[in-house]
Amino acid sequence: MDYQVNRKGYYGEFGGAYIPEMMVPNIQELESQYLEIMHSYDFRQEFIGLMKNYVGRPSPLYFAKRLSEKYQSNIFLKREDLNHTGSHKINNTIGQILVAKKLGKTRIIAETGAGQHGLATATVCALMGLKCIVYMGAVDVERQAPNVKKMRMLGAEVISAVSGNKTLKDATNEAMRDWINNPVDTYYIIGSVVGPHPYPDMVARFQSVISEEIRWQLEEQIGRENPDRIIACVGGGSNAAGAFYHFLNQEGVELIGVEAAGKGIDTKETAATITLGTPGVLHSSRSILMQTEDGQITEPYSISAGLDYPGIGPFHANLFATRRATYLWATDAEVLDAALELTRLEGIIPALESAHALAVLPKIKLKPEEITVINLSGRGDKDMETYLNHFGY
């Protein structure tokens, strides 16, 4: 089965480009050139060089001995938290900033939830000397203050989005409006596998380095390329897309995405899109979203700003519909426990987003001989205030 995007920009029945006419020239320009640019020799050279010497790739694949003992199985952590800027987001922004340069754009815009994508975008803009504007929900500006300060130090303008619930969805709306109003010189670096085609495919390709490395690292460490399962957290779904990518056609590898259940899937304060959502169109692609019967988008909630989103990338909607991947959920409370557990067992403080992937370990029956890889997508520096408030250190 083919789980990749088709020629028309769809993953099964999901995807497409539901864009207003004002965005058509920019999307058509990108759609007609992104693959050619990504495959060009110049681009590959520059991209690979930066990934190695600037980002610090390959990121380690670490056998978590004490965590494995606790769950009586074999658990590896893919250490995306050790990348420059502290998460997997930099893989995508390095790629897209090079695309933007090839297209001759001089002004970069981005949306951000936890601030990790905003930070990764501000970083590559500083690196390339390009003007950077980051839209961030007003609530997130508050709860992820350290990242806001970093972005500003890097020279980016952080604009607070004050519509809706003032989180990631609203930041994305504002970024799209900016692009409509600035159609000529501006490039929009979308941070997840969402938005109109070709974004989901392009972002998944840039993040696919994660699974590409897992394969040879596992081979090197234990003599087999395939684990029994991969677990990754899912908001829009970019780190999960990257971690699943090279295993999509390895049917023996179980793929598990973990959504943010917030205060519980039976409450209104949740962001468990696949668990609770229905098909519809948000941010220019057809996918699964949380919405009312009238088609109005429901305001999501999660303790983790990066997963606080009412939609999911069409890549994942299709993996769910075809049953290739399974989507579980974890509540705020479970996530905090899991974060503390990893901190105490392995000496690694994870991002709240990544802790969702850890939080399902007690819910899955792990066999002693099995190999599980968890994508540790980001580090917890930005979440210290939340952790300290909760644990009271």
Binding site: I19, E21, M22, V24, R177, I180, N181, E293, D294, I297
Partner: protein, 260 residues
């Protein structure tokens, strides 16, 4: 396809004034009154906005009216209920404008049938792409005698202009500048070049200019380059004033259309 939209352009043909408002704003049940007052004041065509939670093509004014309308309890079902007998008192063309997701959730087939029952003449759905429309929904629109109104912008290529002209049947919505609604006012030299380029292009469909049309001067200007113009944000803004609905509307339309 032939309906009230075609009749308007064949009959009047110039200085056409089209007005947009968001259904359910300022009050849930203002819809019918607003339509009737607009007709009374000589408006030629009305675009009834269906509010959406995430209107990415709209600026702050219509974002705000949409939010208030939804908080007031507006929905597609409610709107259809309010418009049920509108054709007993209103003869001018009526268009529904909104985003694709609420229409998808209602069901495109049922939505279009309901539009025909009520007497709606056309739809403007900015985030329904031309290709998807042609492949999936064109036959449904046509079966219900509904024109799908497409947008063009200063950045629309010649090739795409031809495709859009070919796919259009009522009129073409000519976005005056690349922007969200209500973002810019006035008409610059650059825009005049664009209007003249389009005039010279020889499109088979008539055009209305929208976005940035907010007063007598901009309306007058736009009418020189197209069959008429559309006013949205400026009208929605005028509805905020604290005076009776009929006064607000007559005052506003008078200010726009005087001596035209």
């Amino acid at each position: 396809m032939y309906n009230r939209i075609n009749k308007l352009f064949q009959g009047k043909g110039k200085n056409i004034l089209s007005v947009y408002f968001t259904a359910g704003y300022p009050k849930l049940n203002d819809t019918k009154t607003i339509i009737q007052e607009l007709v009374k004041n000589g408006v030629d065509l009305i675009e009834i906005g269906m509010p959406f939670s995430d209107p990415v093509a709209d600026g702050p004014v219509i974002q705000h009216s949409s939010l208030v309308a939804l908080q007031n309890g507006m929905s597609i079902r409610e709107l259809f209920r309010q418009l049920e007998d509108i054709r007993q008192s209103v003869d001018i063309p009526l268009i529904l404008m909104g985003y694709i997701n609420p229409v998808l959730q209602y069901g495109v087939d049922q939505f279009c049938q309901k539009c025909r029952e009520i007497g709606i003449d056309g739809l403007i759905i900015p985030d329904l792409p031309l290709s998807v429309y042609e492949e999936e929904y064109k036959s449904i629109f046509e079966a219900n005698n509904l024109h799908n109104i497409f947008l063009i912008t200063p950045q629309t290529s010649d090739e795409r202009l031809r495709t859009i002209d070919e796919a259009s049947s009522g009129f073409i919505y000519m976005v005056s500048s690349n922007s969200t609604t209500g973002a810019k006012t006035g008409i610059s030299e650059l825009q005049k070049n664009y209007f003249e380029r389009i005039n010279a292009f020889g499109l088979k469909n008539p055009r209305l200019i929208g976005f940035g049309i907010s007063n007598n001067e901009t309306f007058r200007n736009a009418c020189q380059y197209a069959q008429g113009a559309i006013i949205g944000s400026a009208f929605v803004n005028a509805l905020e004033v604290d005076s009776p609905l009929d006064e607000k509307i007559s005052h506003f339309i008078e200010s726009i259309a005087k001596d035209i």
